[in-house]
Subunit: 402 residues, 2 copies
C-alpha cells in the first residue's frame, strides 16, 4: 500500500495492459550495472536513434531570428492553429509530396510523429484491430494496448526482405508499417508497398505509414506511400523533422490524412482527426520550431541536411564493413541509420551483454523489438565519426581479424 | 457519401459524442459574417485569451543562444525526457511551489497545459466521472466526451462567488476546477479551496486544478491548490508558461502529480501518468522552449514578466471602469485577464452580435461556456493598450454617458 491518501478512483483497466517495461528502461538498467562494474570505462552507446550532429546554421539562424522577433511587437506571435501554418503545410507538400496527390489541407503539423500517432490511435478508439510488423518499435504495440486495441504481429523475416508477410495475414482495421524500418533498417520496395496498398484496399484496412526515416532512402525505393497509385485512399502517412533535420530536441513533425481516407460509414477520417487534435493539442507545435521547419524545406536547407544524412550513412557504411570483416551478416544501413546484425545461434541479450562487458559498446538487443527480433542486434549509426570508429576498434577485440 | 474509397473501419462511438462545434468556430463564423457586411471596419477582438505583448528580451535572448547552440557540437542536444529536465523541474518547484510539499519528481514538463490535461484524462479512462464548473472552458467537457467520461456540471453562480456549489454536488471521481477561472475571471478564495479539498478527501475524489492564470492573482488568494493543507494527497495541478510568459506560441507547461495521490487500489497515479506520457509524448517539450522557461524563472525573468502581467491588468482596470460607467456589472479582472460582464435581461449571443455590429468589437458570449454562462459576456484584457482604449471608445456609442 502506498503512503498516499486512498482515493475512490478506480485505475483504468487499460493501464494494466501496459505493465511491461519499455526497452529504454531495460537498457538503462544494463548501463547502470555496467558503470558500477567498470566505473572508469567510457561507454559508447550505439543503442538510441537520436541525432548527434549539429543543425545547419542556415536553419538555426532562422530560429534565432524568430526567437528574437518574439521580443518585438512586430515579431511576437501567440497561438498557432491545431492544423499548423498553411505556409509550412504548403512547403511540406511542395518539397516532399509533389505530384503525389497530397494537398496542404491534408497535412497537420505537430510537435512530432509520436504525438500524431497517439492522436490517430486515440481517434480510432478501442474497437479497432491493428497489425504491426514483428519486429517493430515497441512503443507502437504498447500504445495499442493503452488505447485498448487488439494487436496482431506480422512476422517480418529475412527471406521476406523483412517486410510483413501478407500472404497469411488476417484482415485488421489498421496496418502499421514503418519504412525505412525501425529496427531492421530496410526500406520497403515499390512492389512490397504496392502489395500492401492492394491488400489494404481488398480488406478495407487503413495503413498507418511511418516514414520518419524517409530522407535516408537512396536506392529509388519509395520515400512516401503516396508514390503507390491508390494509396491516398487507404493510407495515412507520418513524417518528422527529427531524423530529417536533427530536430529530436526541437520537436516538429506532421501527419498526412488525405480526405479520401474514409470510415465504413463514409465519413472522412480527416474531419475526426482535426476534431481530436483541436481538443487535445489545439495550439500545435512551437512557433520557433515551425520557423526552423520552414528553413529546413528551402533548397539550401535541404542541401545542408542531406550532407548530415550522408554523414550518418557513411557511419553506417563503416559499421557495415566492420561487421562484414567480423563475419557477421548485417542488414539495413543503406537507406537507414539502423543496421540489423544477425547473430546466429546466440541470443540477442547474451551478445548485447558480451559487447557491453568486453567492448563497453551498448547496442539494442533485437528481441526488445518483438519475438522475431531474437537473434539480431540493432546498431544505430547516429554518432560522431570518431565514436563510430572507436566502437569498431573496440569490437575487434571480440572479433579478431579472420 | 464522401468521395473516398470506403474502408471497413468503423468510426469510434466516442467521436459521435464530440459533434458540437467549439466556440472558436462559432466565433469565426461571426467574424466572417461581420467582415462580409463591414469590409472596411477594422474588427477589435477581445474574445481570445491569447498573449499580445512581446516576451522580455532577457528570455528570448536565452532562446536565441540556445537555438544558435544547436548549430554547434557543444550546444547540440537531442531528445529530452518525457519527464522534462530536472533543472527546470527544480526551478518550477523552487520558484512556484516553495514550502508547499511539491518535489521536482512530481513535476512533468510538457508542451502545454492542454496536453497534460489530455494525457491525464486518457490515463483515467472512460469509467471515471468528472465534475466541471458551469460555466467552464468548453474544451474540458468536450475532452471528457472524447474519452467517454461522464460529465457532471456544477453550477457556479454570482451569489456563490462563481465557485461551484459543493453543498448539493454528487460524488465524482474527478473534479476539475480552474482558478483564476476561465471565463469568470474570479480567483477562488482560501476558504473555497479548503472546502474543495475537504470535499475531495471526504468523497475520495481527485481534483484536477487548473492554475494557468495563477500569476495574475494579486489579492492573497492561493496561487496553488497546494497552499491548502492536505491538497497534495488529493490534487493534481496544471500550470503553464502561456499566460505567465506569453508562451502561447512557444509552448511550455507542466503538471504536478504528487506521489501521494493514489488510485483506489493504492497505486500512485504518478506512475501511470509517467507511463502514459512515456508512450504518447516521450520526447517532452521543445528544448528551445525549455531554455526559455528556465530564463523565465530567474529573478530577473519573473520581474520582467510581472510587468507584462501588470500591463494586462491595467487593461482590465480600464475595461472595468468603462463597464462601470456603462452601468454594466462586471466581475473578475482583478486577479485575471478576464472580465465577466453581466447583461441582465438579454441573451449573450444577442449582445455579442450588437457589439459586433455597432462597435465592431468581438467578445465571447457567455453561453459558449455552458448554460450558467447565459446572460454574461467574457471580455479578454489581452491586447495592446491602444486597442483596449479604442474598444472602450467604440462601446461608448452603444452605452452613452449616463
Amino acid at each position: 500500500m502506498a503512503k498516499g491518501f486512498p482515493s475512490g478512483v478506480e485505475r483504468s483497466e487499460l493501464l494494466s495492459n501496459c505493465e511491461s517495461e519499455l526497452f529504454f528502461s531495460k537498457l538503462r538498467a544494463k548501463v547502470l550495472a555496467h558503470n558500477n562494474v567498470h566505473p572508469n570505462e567510457k561507454l559508447i552507446s550505439l543503442s538510441i536513434g537520436d541525432a548527434s550532429e549539429p543543425i545547419p546554421q542556415i536553419i538555426t539562424s532562422v530560429m534565432e531570428q524568430f526567437a528574437h522577433g518574439l521580443s518585438t511587437r512586430e515579431g511576437f506571435s501567440g497561438y498557432t492553429t491545431h492544423h499548423g501554418p498553411e505556409s509550412l503545410r504548403t512547403q511540406i507538400v511542395e518539397v516532399l509530396y509533389k505530384g503525389l496527390g497530397v494537398k496542404p489541407s491534408d497535412v497537420f503539423v505537430s510537435d512530432g510523429a509520436k504525438g500524431c500517432l497517439a492522436r490517430l490511435m486515440m481517434m480510432f478508439g478501442s474497437a479497432v484491430t491493428m497489425a504491426v510488423p514483428d519486429p517493430t518499435y515497441p512503443v507502437i504495440p504498447q500504445m495499442c494496448n493503452l488505447f485498448g486495441q487488439n494487436v496482431i504481429r506480422l512476422s517480418s523475416k529475412p527471406d521476406g526482405g523483412f517486410f510483413p508477410d501478407l500472404s497469411n495475414a488476417p484482415r485488421t482495421d489498421l496496418i502499421y508499417v514503418c519504412s525505412p524500418n525501425n529496427p531492421t533498417g530496410i526500406a520497403a520496395t515499390r512492389e512490397q508497398l504496392a502489395d500492401l496498398v492492394s491488400f489494404a484496399r481488398k480488406n478495407g484496412s487503413i495503413i498507418l505509414y511511418d516514414a520518419v526515416y524517409a530522407a535516408f532512402i537512396a536506392d529509388g525505393s519509395p520515400k512516401s506511400i503516396y508514390e503507390i497509385p491508390g494509396a491516398t485512399e487507404v493510407a495515412i502517412e507520418i513524417g518528422s523533422f527529427s531524423k530529417l533535420a536533427g530536430f529530436t530536441g526541437v520537436r516538429l513533425g506532421w501527419v498526412v490524412v488525405p480526405d479520401s481516407v474514409v470510415f465504413a460509414n463514409g465519413k472522412p477520417v480527416v474531419s475526426d482527426y482535426s476534431r481530436v487534435t483541436l481538443l487535445v493539442a489545439p495550439a500545435g507545435a512551437s512557433n520557433i520550431a515551425q520557423a526552423g521547419g520552414s528553413a529546413c524545406l528551402t533548397q539550401e536547407g535541404i542541401e545542408e541536411l542531406m550532407k548530415i544524412i550522408e554523414y550518418y550513412k557513411e557511419n553506417a557504411r563503416i559499421l557495415l564493413n566492420a561487421f562484414a570483416s567480423f563475419g557477421l551478416e548485417a542488414h539495413g544501413g543503406l537507406n537507414s541509420p539502423y543496421i540489423w546484425v544477425q547473430i546466429p545461434g546466440r541470443s540477442s541479450d547474451e551478445v548485447c551483454d558480451e559487447w557491453l562487458e568486453r567492448a563497453h559498446v551498448l547496442i539494442t538487443p533485437g528481441d526488445m523489438f518483438g519475438p522475431s527480433g531474437e537473434g539480431f542486434l540493432r546498431v544505430s549509426a547516429f554518432g560522431h565519426r570518431e565514436i563510430i570508429l572507436e566502437a569498431v576498434t573496440r569490437l575487434k577485440a571480440i572479433y579478431p581479424p579472420m
